[in-house]
């Protein structure tokens, strides 16, 4: 292999790139396939570079991404190009210098050594956090009661959980003050949470796709006369099926958005499809459209607020602000005025005479 690649390369860098492209060629050359069968790619790459007199070593690297849990270390090759140590993914090739990778350890044999136990694994949880000076100062206080005192994996959870009250406030406002109809009281919040993971446009498109396909399949289910519990269970399985098919198809077509579809709460989706189907049968497609678009609109609004970086910052760093949200929800709960939708619905009352002052409520 080296004899063929070496004459085409000028320095360590181009040699590494050539080797990586040889390794990822499909179908692999016979020699490469044989070697890859015996050695993991990173180890093979290191050995090849060493054989060509390039200083190289196998390292463990962590890919950095906010809010990721159960991430594992990846094995990369690192080589000396004469001036710097350069990181090389044995499959995809050289990494740009600003890639979000953390070099975890070089060459050491293992991350975790266990004596007398088995089945142990090491996984990593990551969270991007902005620490205020005050927070850092009190970090070691034994009475520290902030969310920062939690383990990082829990903090990642709370970053999402702390956004839920914002979504709840949006739902309460849209239902009580605007008078929008939504299907399921808090389904829009869960949708908004999913949109946070999928980004808005791919999220909305794949959601519509799943619901429409689900409704089509549901029309067949109603011909089977299933009992309710069985029907919902069937829908859950079908929804998972649809999501898998859509994911695979969109990946094959090169649309990466499909991959994130699995963030949708599937049980909720199944219930939504069931409720929409019943609504369709009883009230007609118009009502389905009204409630469906109502839910979607509320979800998008909630998403807009929840992905606003200032809102994220305030919600996580100053959890006490949620008392204000609570107060607003309580106030809205006592709101007795007209809903905006009623101003349209009750428009025909324009022709009703006004009451005399004495009767006026």
């Amino acid at each position: 292999m080296l004899q063929r690649v070496l004459p085409e390369t000028a320095d360590a860098r181009s040699l590494a790139e050539q080797l990586a492209s040889t390794l990822r060629r499909r179908p692999p050359e016979q020699n490469v396939a044989l070697l890859l069968d015996r050695y993991p790619p990173a180890q093979l790459m290191t050995a090849l570079l060493n054989a060509a007199d390039v200083p190289a070593r196998t390292v463990s690297v962590l890919g950095l991404e906010d809010g990721i849990r159960r991430e594992r270390l990846a094995r990369y090759t690192q080589f000396w190009d004469g001036e710097h140590w350069v990181l090389l993914d044995p499959i995809s090739g050289l990494l740009p210098p600003d890639a979000d990778r953390l070099l975890w350890q070089t060459d050491a044999p293992s991350v975790l050594e266990v004596t007398g136990g088995q089945g142990s694994t090491v996984t990593f949880a990551m969270i991007r956090q902005v620490r205020s000076a005050l927070e850092t100062a009190v970090a070691n206080d034994s009475l520290n009661f902030s969310l920062y005192s939690l383990p990082v994996a829990e903090q990642g959870m709370f970053k999402l959980i702390m956004l839920l009250p914002i979504g709840a406030l949006v739902v309460v406002f849209m239902r009580l003050v605007v008078g929008l109809k939504t299907s399921g009281t808090f389904m829009p919040i869960l949708l908004a949470l999913s949109f946070l993971q999928t980004e808005l446009a791919p999220g909305v498109i794949s959601l519509l796709l799943v619901v429409i396909l689900g409704l089509l399949l549901r029309t067949y289910l109603s011909a089977l006369n299933l009992l309710l519990v069985a029907r919902i269970a069937t829908l859950v399985i079908l929804v998972i099926g649809i999501i898998s098919v859509v994911s695979i198809l969109s990946y094959r077509l090169g649309l990466i958005g499909g991959l994130t579809i699995s963030f949708f709460p599937m049980i909720i989706l199944a219930w939504t499809i069931e409720r929409m189907a019943i609504l369709w049968e009883e009230e007609g497609p118009r009502e389905v459209l009204v409630q469906g678009s109502g839910s979607l609109l509320v979800a998008i609004l909630a998403y807009g607020l929840m992905q606003w970086s200032l809102m994220k910052h305030l919600a996580f760093n100053f959890p006490e602000l949620h008392l204000c949200v609570l107060a607003m929800v309580l106030l809205l709960g006592r709101y007795k005025g007209y809903r905006l939708s009623e101003l349209v619905r009750f428009a025909p009352f324009y022709n009703v005479p006004e009451l005399d002052d004495l009767d006026r409520p």
Partner: protein
């Protein structure tokens, strides 16, 4: 009549219109105790307490509560030519199956469609599994006698039996509406589906105004009846029946749905602890002044007759033209 696209909240308030939030907050939560809701949300319970109190209602034939009873339904119904199947916890008229007659082994619906025994069984099975109940809870099905509508009213309706909704506040009937099925509503007296709602004069049961799809109409679109020519017969019996529901249920803010049977007169169909607001549109009047008037009355006990006399005196409309003067 010229209808603007929207109306300001102050204009609504000046006309005494009750909104959804105020209804929920100021009336339902305040006057209807939570533990009494099941009395009206479950038609079987309603049936039992109203029968005990001697209120007239369609006769309860059977209660179907498990699968074995469904299997035997053919024998159970052998004596019945006509009947109505209702989910005990249905809402908004969902899951109601009306059988008006039989032809050989087939059951006939009011629309003329034929059903086989297996269709009846499937409907019952769906009902028990909670298809028609609020939140999909498991339910029981009740089977009642079919109501034969009073012809004086039924002639105004396109198919179906018209029903009368009365809002009863602390025992006072405050507002009434007659629901007439139309071709658009498929013979169902459901306002959402296009039935027309006719506002009724509390004093004498005459038609005042009407709406279809929340917009005013003068005539029934299919039968051509002029709204002001409608007169509900046996009006006093109807008011009495509705007013008595207050003592029976203890619910302060109540919607009573009543039908007029050809032979038995007013029958209580069902009760509703969260009656809708469209009745205001049908009456072309707001509920608030009437509710406030009753709230301002001293709270001592008033008999049914006294309450009805008060309601007729204060909530009756002389005629549509003089009310504008």
């Amino acid at each position: 009549m010229n209808v603007p696209r929207w109306i300001s909240p102050w204009a609504l308030s000046r006309r005494g219109i009750l909104g959804m939030n105020e209804r929920n907050c100021g009336y339902i939560l305040r006057y209807n105790q939570r533990e009494k809701f099941p009395l009206v949300d479950n038609k079987l319970k309603t049936k039992l307490i109203t029968r005990q109190a001697g209120l007239e209602a369609p006769k309860l034939l059977h209660v179907i509560s498990n699968q074995t009873e469904i299997e035997r339904i053919g024998d159970t119904l052998a004596e019945q030519d006509s009947f109505v199947i209702k989910p005990a916890q249905g809402s908004g008229g969902k899951g109601i199956l009306v059988v008006t007659g039989r032809a050989n082994d087939r059951f006939l619906k009011s629309s003329g469609a034929e059903l086989k025994l297996i269709d009846i069984k499937r409907h019952l099975s769906n009902t028990l599994s909670g298809l028609h109940s609020l939140g999909g809870k498991p339910d029981v099905a009740i089977i009642e006698t079919l109501i034969v509508g009073n012809p004086a009213l039924a002639e105004h309706s396109y198919e179906g039996v018209p029903d009368i909704r009365l809002i009863v506040f602390q025992g006072y009937p405050v507002m009434g509406m007659l629901r007439l099925a139309t071709r658009a509503s498929d013979g169902k007296a459901n306002l959402h589906q296009g039935a027309i709602g006719v506002g009724l004069n509390i004093d004498n049961g005459a038609g005042i105004a009407a709406v279809q799809y929340n917009r005013p109409v003068d005539h029934h679109p299919d039968t051509g009846t002029a709204i002001t020519a409608i007169q509900v017969p046996q009006w006093m019996d109807l008011l009495t029946l509705a007013s008595r529901c207050y003592e029976v249920t203890g619910l302060g803010y109540l919607g009573c749905d009543i039908v007029l049977d050809r032979e038995r007169g007013p029958l209580l169909l069902e009760l509703n602890a969260r009656p809708g607001l469209s009745i205001q549109l049908a009456n072309n009047a707001g509920l608030l002044p009437r509710l406030r008037l009753i709230e301002s009355r001293p709270g001592f006990f008033q008999s049914v007759d006294e309450r009805i006399a008060f309601a007729r005196q204060h909530f009756g409309v002389v005629t549509a033209s003089t009310s504008h003067a």
